[in-house]
């Protein structure tokens, strides 16, 4: 079987993120190349699982809940989210 090799260049990651990536790879006992390959493979696996499964299969059936409580928690989280995003803008 012929081997296909590919090399990718990543631009615009920034020094901080690059350093964090190197640190993370080291922490996981991987080379930076192996770590990036692992990330790509993980993401592709998520994508494959998403295509072939269902919401119910992924998350389980769940059970009857207090929907007003969910709404209230979501509303609070929304406020936090929009406060954060307006600070960033």
């Amino acid at each position: 079987m012929s081997q296909i090799s590919a090399s990718l260049q990543i631009k615009g990651l920034g020094k901080q993120k690059l350093a964090a990536m190197l640190e993370r790879a080291k922490r996981l006992g991987m080379t930076p190349q192996r770590y990036l390959k692992h990330l790509v493979e993980e993401d592709l696996a998520v994508s494959e699982r998403a295509k072939s499964s269902t919401f119910k299969g992924i998350l389980g059936a769940g059970e009857a809940t207090d929907e007003l409580e969910i709404d209230s928690l979501v509303e609070d989280a929304k406020k936090r989210y929009h406060r954060q995003s307006s600070r960033r803008a």
Partner: protein
């Protein structure tokens, strides 16, 4: 109306309700989207909010079934069954609740037929008398803003629900 001409924008709490309980009205709407009986619309802004809320520590502490690896797959699944508008290119000023303007902007850009929400302000918008309500009717003259329960009840036959 052909089945897949239901074009839905889901308010965040509707998505969360559906993720937590697949048997709820919101969960049934998600299943209809999987079965291509309706299409969910997404924008980058809406997706960012969904992701943030579904990772919220208080929400996840209360509902431990929202496990992050599963949520990542579920969001990916949502993208898979949705029409994603990366650039919406529409502005809608909604002073009553600016947090919801991105939902209206997506509805306009994606020619949504329904905005599914339980938020009273949004639900009353199509019939409101405010300046924003008038602009809303101008931009979205035929949209219905309804709760998950009302959406299923009103379109039971068209959705071929048993």
């Amino acid at each position: 109306m052909p089945l897949n001409s239901f074009r839905l924008v889901l308010d965040t709490n509707v998505l969360v309700r559906g993720f937590i309980n697949s048997g709820s009205d919101s969960g049934r709407i998600l299943q209809l989207c999987e079965q291509r009986r309706a299409v969910t619309l997404l924008s980058s802004a809406v997706l960012r909010e969904y992701r943030f809320i579904l990772a919220d520590t208080k929400l996840c502490a209360r509902y431990p079934q929202l496990e992050q690896p599963e949520i990542a797959v579920a969001i990916e699944r949502l993208i898979y069954v949705s029409d994603l508008y990366r650039r919406v290119g529409v502005r809608f000023d909604y002073p009553r609740d600016p947090k919801d303007s991105h939902l209206i902007e997506l509805a306009i850009a994606g020619a949504a037929t329904h905005l599914i929400s339980t938020d009273d302000d949004l639900v009353s918008l199509p019939n409101g008398r405010t300046e924003a309500a008038k602009r809303f009717r101008q931009r979205l003259p035929v949209i219905e803003v309804v709760s998950p329960y009302d959406f299923l009840r009103l379109h039971r036959e068209k959705l071929r629900l048993t």
